[in-house]
Amino acid sequence: MAGRRPLRIILDLMGEAASATDSNRLASLVLTMGMALGAAVFVGVTSISTTLSSQVSDLFDERLATTITAESRTSEPWITESGLESVRRLVGVDAVGILGNRVETTVGVRHTTATRFAGARLASPEALRVIEPHMVAGVAYRRAHELVGVPVALIPSSLIETVGLSGIGQQIVVGEGRYRVVGVFDGLERRLDAAGDILVIGGAGSAARTPEAVVIKVAPGWGTRVAPVVAVALRPDDPGQVVVSSPLDPEDFRLSVEESVRATGLAVSIVAMVVSGLMLAVVTASGVVSRYSEIGMRRALGTPRTAIALELMIHSVLVGLRGALIGVSVGVVGVTLWAERNGHRAMFDLAGLGKVWLVSILVGLVAGLVPAVVALRVPPVTALRS
């Protein structure tokens, strides 16, 4: 093709590649759908993962990033009312409470029937404001309980049968103490590790004697600022005795979640694209075999081998791009509908969308390479006889 006008050669190549797409409709349809599937999965997975990671990190901001736990290095009593008050006065602190460690103890509706075991924890009334149980029956706590001096308990719904509870207000036995059940919960907003335990409030049961932790609820964004001063506020005389579990920096967490979810999504979608590419290569290569006669005729007409090879590669790229266009459209619409239905704000990774085109071109090129090499090697006489 030396000495020809480059633009005309390019137009001939593009025109012929496009004509091949139109003339092999079934094969082109299969290839397009394959690429579209890959691209749709790519867009779907990356966008859903971006949306979800955003949701997860928002959730983290609201829940985990607003919880601080302080514990003592020793088993000696260490919490003082003045220490708790100091923490309450810190800027950004919403609530401070005491939560006992979990103890495995006997539970039942009477002493004589208390032969079953379950986990229990002491919780101060204010601790309930921190861990925020999701009540499904009864109430979490009322000031009146404290005023009349009745120790109360909240039990998780999963333990109703274990305890043998028949209704709110019933007394149950937890270890050595008797408690009035005032509410049933099915989860906790914070300290998810305590969601399966009976929470006893007040009284002198065994749960109350376990080592305790101070749980603190802070306003969103204050976790990393409040945590460093909690130990000093609780025990100004010996802050080294206090171990404070501070939440991760929300931004770091967001980035790590996004990175993790998106990396997984990217891996899945790359696999999908590669599978589509392999399919493209196989079907295009088989298309070359079915077009042997045509290739032989084209060679007889004097079409250069390189032109035929380039036509096949361009054809493959065009099919890939067409598939990508369909796949991206389907992916964007699908993710938007999914997000709307689930109350999320759809988020698209624009760089990822850009990569779809790049990947589809690369996949098309690689997929077209095999048939191009096959076509280059076809002797025209052999092809004409096929």
């Binding site: 004509s19 003339s23 004097g302």
Partner: protein, 224 residues
């Protein structure tokens, strides 16, 4: 090219195919094809006619002897140069037509003009002329798969002629046609020859061979 220079000049050309038993398809063929000639090559099936035609059309290379095309020694030409000669100087008509299915008549004719220096307008003019000359105006945008055998062969001839070919090589051009349609095709070839196109027809049909000015007969790969 001077008048004395033959379009094709073959000297002791041979071609052998490998296999369990090597087959010498063409052996010691010496012949000149002059510009404007109408030559037929006859012979039984397996006599080497098609192989000889492939060599003449630069689709295959002889493994012995000398082949010249319009005075140029073919063995010294690169694959790209041979492709260029086929594209611009040689036309082919095959027994099985070798049209591209699912494309229209004009698209099939246009294939022969791809990668040539002609502008789009010039290409269209040439295609239009060929369609008119072959009487296929009403079939211009018809899928070639829907054409009759005779019409398909006319399209194949048109494809060979939309360029400025000086040599038309035909391999059993009437082999898939009834006798009446075959005669029409041969009349078309004769008409093209009268306009200066050199025509070489390979056939086993003596009636077809009669259209040629000169007949060559092949037997066991040799001209007899």
């Amino acid at each position: 090219m001077s008048r004395a220079t033959p379009v094709l000049r073959l000297r002791d050309v041979g071609r052998e195919f490998d296999g369990p038993v090597p087959v010498r398809a063409v052996a010691g063929v010496t012949v000149d094809i002059a510009p404007g000639e109408f030559v037929s090559v006859v012979g039984r099936s397996g006599s080497g006619k098609t192989t000889l035609l492939s060599i003449m059309g630069l689709l295959d290379s002889p493994d012995s002897g000398v082949l010249e095309f319009e005075g140029r020694l073919v063995s010294t030409l690169s694959e790209a140069e041979r492709s260029l000669i086929r594209r611009e100087r040689i036309g082919f008509v095959f027994q099985r037509f070798h049209l591209v299915p699912h494309r229209t008549v004009e698209q099939n004719l246009g294939l022969a003009l791809l990668y040539t220096p002609h502008r789009v307008r010039e290409r269209k003019r040439r295609v239009d002329e060929a369609i008119e000359a072959l009487g296929l105006e009403s079939r211009r945008r018809t899928d070639v798969s829907l054409l009759s055998g005779g019409e398909q062969q006319r399209v194949a001839m048109g494809r060979a002629l939309v360029g400025d070919v000086g040599l038309l090589l035909c391999d059993e051009p009437t082999g898939n046609l009834d006798s009446a349609t075959g005669r029409t095709v041969m009349e078309t070839l004769r008409s093209l020859n009268s306009r200066g196109v050199t025509v070489v027809v390979v056939t086993h049909d003596p009636v077809v061979a009669e259209f040629a000015q000169r007949q060559l007969t092949m037997k066991d790969g040799r001209l007899v």
